[in-house]
Amino acid sequence: MNPNQPHPLTRDPEQDGFWGWIDRASVWAGGWLNPILIKEARQALKSKQFVITFFLLLASSWLWTVLGIVTLSPDVYYMPSGEDMLQGYYFVLALPLLGMVPLVAHRSLAAEIDDGTFEMLAITKLSSMRIVLGKLNSALLQMMIYFAAVVPGLAFSYLLRGVNMPTLVMMVIVVFFTALLMTTAALMIATLASHRAWQAFALLAVLGCVLFAQFLCAGVCLGGIVGQDAGSMPESWLYVGVFGLVGSGCMVLFVKAAAARIAPVTENRSTGLRWCMFTLQLLWIFAMMLIPMHYANHTPDAYVDAEPINFAMMILAGFWLIMGALMLAESPELSPRVQRTLPSTFLGRMFRMWFNPGPGTGYMFALCSGVAAFATMAVFSSSAAFLNIYQSPSTHPVAMALLMSGYLIFYLSAVRIVCLVLGRWLGRSFVLSIATLAFVLFGSAVLPSVGSVLLTGDLPQAYSPLELPNWMWTLDEAFSRGIGLSAAMLVFLLGAMLWVLNSLLLAREFSYRRIAEPTQLRMEKQSEALV
């Protein structure tokens, strides 16, 4: 650390021999690593928080080993006690991975944004995606290091017998995966709060997610996986795989959304996200068909239970309502930069226009994707019915598809109209559209009860078609006694009417055409292509 010596970072690796080669190779490899990862790793090594966490982890791992042996004595010497020991190690692993890591990642990105260091980062050549991935990589590195501190403990519990290797592996996978999912969510939430006032809420949201994940994961891992020895059941691997698939889709969506939030406003921040939502929907449909099909092949009386598929439709309707509301906050003005990349051929315009940025295309995109998905799932269930390998659910899949389509179209159209009106005074924002969505959903749910109280002076006693605007009661009914085709048709028709009203306001956005690139840019791209 002699200040007169040049700093090691400013020196080229010049030595010969093996160590020189190692030196050169690592410098070369470092050039390709994400700069943020390098920076954060350097900072982490210096930061007390990281060092303290690591040694606390190590210490609690050892402490539990000693404590566990003492409390389990003398059984531990001749009985398989791995499972009891593992419960302690689970918490030593899950508390930092599921709690600390997402919070640190969230703070790290949020602090970057409100300390003003982010702007300096934004004007470098790092893309917004690389910035987010850099933060994610740092979190992953931390997870690896924390994991390393617990590995001896896990190995020890295996040696004590009572835990199978597949179960142990499954538990570690689930913890890692959940931690990664939480981290991407935390990163996305960090980019949502651009004002200081919102940051407290953002932190609360992350804390909520983390706590929820902590409980859920503990239940699944200790009760489900370790308790049932799930690693040796192929069925549970199917679930891990299916949820892993959908979860990965969510992760990509979160990361892309975070990157879009911090990207320059003139960039096309929407099309990529829409492809992502679309893919996530495909994964969801695939997963939700796979599970009933698996049971159909593995149960003696071979039937397809359509109830989970109805349930999947409901989740999807919620998904598209929220995504649709978020897309409604996009700006209807397309920057010249975006207009340069619009599809220009007839076919391209027909199929890809839905992916163009803008609230109008977003609205149509959400509706079309949702309705197409409901139709697909209804056809799947119905064909199973046709093949007589079908257990009838409470609501017929076709009625369910109509009902969900109707609700999606009706509520999103209503939100769009309200946002168009309110937006004139308040301006477009995510907060406005989500608040409107919440308000519309709540209002519609209480409407029949309020009407009934006003007219008869009493709350409605039993479900009737008058309760259709109350989506909560209707859904409850759909999964208990079932909703008829005619009621579902009615909801769908109401939605369609609101859609017709809306579509009158849509034309402008679909009329955007591709524009030419400026000469200087074209020349530069040509010279790049030559190099």
């Binding site: 020196r11 700069p35 350097r42 920057s335 010249p336």
Partner: protein, 317 residues
């Protein structure tokens, strides 16, 4: 670096406007800076300097108008503009627990400067800014002057062709100011295009090829310092030294319509002259024609501060 075929202006603002709510921070500002030029951007606090520079640096969007760096729009092609631009903001956050070398190294990597280029640029920039002595020093412990050097170093790390420096001298002690000025001159000599802002005209006058004076979002005047001075000199101070009594000369000059605030005593006459060079020559002819012995006949320069105060009306937002 990409071989650029561009030979137009290095920086160009086209009718740039930016509103914050009802305040118009930048109002229809246009100017160009040729490659290798040093442009001083001068105006009181709240004039809109920072806002327009942030638009150029791709950090802010204009309400209307466009800004170009080497012919590429900072609004529509920010990713391409960023590589050729070094921006030094007036206030900036740093990672307190990194040291200077690590900080610069991080930004070198972020700008895609890797391998031997990276170590070469790091050495070059640290030597240029004098940070090589402070390589191990954590940023938290740096003085304001050293922080400014670090910030300049960061702006230079990827060897950009265009530099945008927002009030780099603000809050520095006189010595640091002089050193900063030397560094900027050295950069100009290397052929970098520089846009530099300040609220003090004299600070920039000697190192700028041209200046623009902005107030309340409007560009009031552009040109070389000399041009601006002349353009705005509607009245000039004339000092006449006369051998002998001043009374006859005073009697001759006093009634002239272009002469104002005349005072004469002990061989010296001062007055304000309204009008151009022709009027000034005419007055001298009147004096010599009347056979008055004129020793000196000179215009007295107004200080730059006077010019500045004349142009701007002292509105501070």
């Amino acid at each position: 670096m990409i071989a650029s075929s561009w030979n137009g202006p290095a920086i160009e603002l086209q009718r740039l406007c930016r509103d914050f709510g009802s305040t118009r921070a930048v109002n229809d500002v246009s100017f160009t800076v040729p490659p290798g030029g040093v442009f001083g951007y001068i105006g009181p606090n709240g004039a809109g300097k920072t806002t327009s520079m942030r638009i150029l640096a791709t950090l802010e969007l204009p309400t209307s108008g466009d800004a170009f760096i080497q012919g590429l729009s900072a609004i529509n092609d920010p990713d391409r503009v960023r590589g050729r631009l070094g921006f030094m903001p007036d206030g900036f956050g740093t990672y307190g627990d990194t040291n200077c070398a690590e900080y610069l190294d991080f930004f070198a990597r972020s700008y895609g400067v890797i391998g031997r280029d990276r170590t070469r640029r790091l050495r070059r920039v640290m030597e240029f800014t004098g940070l090589d002595q402070l390589a191990y020093k954590p940023i938290r412990g740096l003085s304001k002057g050293m922080k400014q050097r670090l910030c300049l170093g960061r702006a230079l790390i990827h060897d950009p062709a265009v530099l945008i420096l927002d009030e780099p001298a603000a809050g520095l002690d006189p010595r640091a100011r002089i050193e900063l000025r030397q560094m900027i001159r050295a950069l100009a000599a290397e052929g970098k295009t520089i846009l530099i802002s300040s609220h003090i005209l004299t600070e920039l006058a000697e190192m700028c090829d041209s200046v623009g004076i902005i107030e309340r979002g409007c560009l009031l005047a552009t040109g070389t310092v000399e041009e601006i001075r002349r353009q705005l000199r509607k009245t000039r101070n004339i000092l006449v030294r006369i051998l002998g009594d001043v009374a006859p000369a005073v009697k001759l000059l006093q009634p002239h319509p272009a002469v104002d605030q005349l005072e004469g005593e002990r061989g010296l006459i001062r007055f304000h002259l309204h009008g151009g060079d022709d009027v000034q020559v005419e007055l001298l002819r009147i004096l010599t024609d009347a056979r008055i012995d004129v020793l000196d006949y000179a215009t007295v320069d107004e200080s730059l501060e006077d010019v500045f105060l004349q142009i701007t009306q002292g509105h501070v937002q």
